[in-house]
């Protein structure tokens, strides 16, 4: 009997969690060590906005109970930053100078917030990013001092921060450089419907503008001057324009890096026994048919899980990522899946149903009878059927009209297709 395999996971996000679960499906014995630079075991990262307004609390934020890790024999090392990887020796070094040996390594370092240069913002204690539990706690600690806040970035993170702040009584202004919010995940119509709801809830949204300068007095923020010359009174600034893959650790170890860490179809990097998953990596995407950074949670978890299985000896390709987002603001449920703004010359057909009065919108993006993307606003029931049809590349010819209606279900498919779609997987 050979010695137990030592697995090391760098990063305490859902990719790391998925890897633990993937490894343990295959190998019940090997030593698993998860190191995270954060102070907490894997927690709900998108949950930080819910935490800020009290819908989640410290007991509900962890993704798994403490007993989960002890039952699976996982050593959790929090507040432990990996500073280098020695691919030859098979060790990682931590900030404390400790060497941790590995037989298989997963790099799941996630993304780091992009901080736009804004005059006068540096060194102020009321300037925050909004990607970690720590960020949310910092804001929470200072909430009594925040009456007005400016959020830079009208994407998912920025709007979730805006919603949470608005819910705790802060007057919020969102700045978005594009002509619409949610430009990455949703199309203009959906973005506008969401914007309408946010404005009705009391959040101000300014598009085609951004923060240029912070005016402060003795370290206290007074107002934010915008590129247009307008200014907005504020006592806090939240920077939420996006995240970029955290690739420095991998790059420094000689691992191939593009925009993200490059992996093969088994999610292994160019170095044997070293894998990567989640927001830090570029894994295969089924819509774009190429490797791509798609920093969304289900992909991160799925990649982590498959990487974990493969690290433990399963030899299976990753099924491929599919971009999808579910968000709800003030009762308006919105889901986008796959390609939602197709290129004009790509040969795609776009089908739309819009009922502005009732905030209902549906859009299908198809090509040669197959579904490539869907946007559902207002009626999102059974949205997963759309995701599944996209993923499996199934012909939906003849189903388009019912798919645009809110009633669509398996019963609209012909029998053979329905029976197949309802098989357990």
């Amino acid at each position: 009997m050979s010695k137990e395999t030592k697995y090391v996971i760098i990063g305490g996000g859902v990719a790391g969690l998925g890897a633990i679960e993937g490894i343990r499906e295959v190998d019940k014995e090997g030593e698993i060590t998860l190191v995270t630079m954060e102070a907490y075991p894997p927690y709900s990262r998108p949950g930080i906005s819910y935490w800020l307004y009290g819908k989640l609390d410290d007991t509900t934020m962890p993704l798994r109970d403490d007993s989960f890790y002890s039952n699976l024999g996982v050593t959790l090392m929090t507040d432990c930053e990996a500073t280098s990887i020695d691919t030859k020796a098979g060790t990682i070094k931590t900030k404390g100078g400790k060497d941790i040996p590995f037989d298989r390594l997963l790099i799941a370092t996630g993304g780091s917030p992009i901080l736009p240069p804004i005059d006068g913002a540096e060194g102020l204690d009321m300037v925050f990013s909004f990607t970690t539990y720590k960020d949310a706690r910092e804001i929470g600690k200072k909430r009594d001092k925040i009456k007005r806040a400016v959020v830079v970035g009208g994407g998912l993170i920025g709007l979730k921060a805006a919603e949470a702040l608005n819910n705790i009584g802060v007057k919020v202004t969102v700045l978005e450089l594009m002509d619409r919010i949610l430009s990455l995940a949703f199309d203009k119509t959906a973005g506008d419907l969401v914007a309408k709801g946010l404005v009705e809830a009391g959040i101000e949204i300014i598009t085609e503008d951004t923060a240029q300068k912070v005016v402060s007095d003795g370290g206290k923020i007074m107002e934010i001057v915008l590129r247009s010359g307008k200014s907005v009174e504020a006592d806090a600034l939240i920077l939420a324009i996006g995240v970029r893959p955290r690739v420095e650790l991998a790059g420094g170890a000689g691992i191939d890096v593009g925009r993200g860490i490059l992996v093969d179809e088994r999610l292994m990097t160019n170095i044997k026994d070293i894998y990567a998953a989640g927001d830090a990596s570029e894994a295969y995407d089924i819509i774009y048919r190429e490797r791509r950074v798609t920093p969304i949670l289900p992909n991160a978890y799925g990649q982590g899980k498959q990487a974990g299985r493969n690290m433990a000896g399963t030899d299976e390709p990753y099924e491929g990522g599919l971009s999808m987002n579910a968000i709800g603001f003030y009762g308006l449920d919105t889901i986008s899946i796959g390609l939602v703004d197709p290129p004009e010359n790509g040969g795609y057909d776009v089908l739309v149903r819009l009922d502005k009065e009732n905030n209902i919108y549906r859009k299908l993006v198809t090509k040669e009878g197959r579904l490539f993307g869907a946007v559902l606003v207002g009626e999102v029931e059974r949205a997963g059927i759309f995701a599944s049809l996209i993923r499996d590349g199934v012909s939906i010819a003849g189903l388009e009209e019912t798919m645009l209606s809110g009633e669509f279900g398996h019963v609209h498919m012909d029998r053979d297709l329905r029976v197949k779609r309802l098989e357990r997987r």
Binding site: Y50, T60, A326, I335, R382, G384, L422, R424
Partner: protein
């Protein structure tokens, strides 16, 4: 693993499965009280799809590698050691990521409380309430060896 499936050839679309599910998940487990007097009427965990002559009840397959669990942002959706996929409503924030992920469309939405609702195979019940209630035996429990 066990799960419930419908034979569409014999489903008559009576929706008694939905009603039995509501009653089973109610506080009193009494049909009259569950529908008329409880503070909040539970939602059915299965739903009947029906168009013209075709009808069938659709409910969770308790997948081996559940997409709802992969997509859940808070860890509310879990696959237990017994194979059941369940949702912890204390942790659910109603983001509907599970709804977006489930290929069967079998995660329900409690829009009032913003919580996901789904089949839990009726806890300790030997035969799930929907299966027991089906007058035409369209619903059956499938037992599969876990691979």
């Amino acid at each position: 693993m066990r799960y419930v499936v419908a034979n569409e050839d014999v489903c008559i679309g009576c929706r008694l499965c939905e009603i039995a599910c509501v009653v089973e998940h109610s506080k009193t487990k009494d049909i009259v009280k569950a529908y008329k007097f409880e503070e909040k009427r539970e939602l059915p965990r299965s739903h009947v799809e029906e168009v013209g002559p075709v009808s069938l009840s659709i409910t969770c397959r308790h997948c081996d590698d559940p997409r709802c669990v992969a997509a859940c942002i808070t860890g509310a959706m879990r696959k237990g050691e017994d194979g059941r996929v369940t949702v912890d409503i204390e942790k659910c924030v109603g983001c509907w990521s599970c709804v977006m992920a489930c290929p069967y469309g079998s995660v329900g939405m409690d829009k009032e409380d913003r919580k996901s609702v789904k089949c839990d195979l009726c806890g300790d019940r030997e035969i799930p309430a929907c299966v027991e209630a089906c007058p035409n035996r369209a619903l059956i429990v499938v037992e599969e060896e876990v691979g």
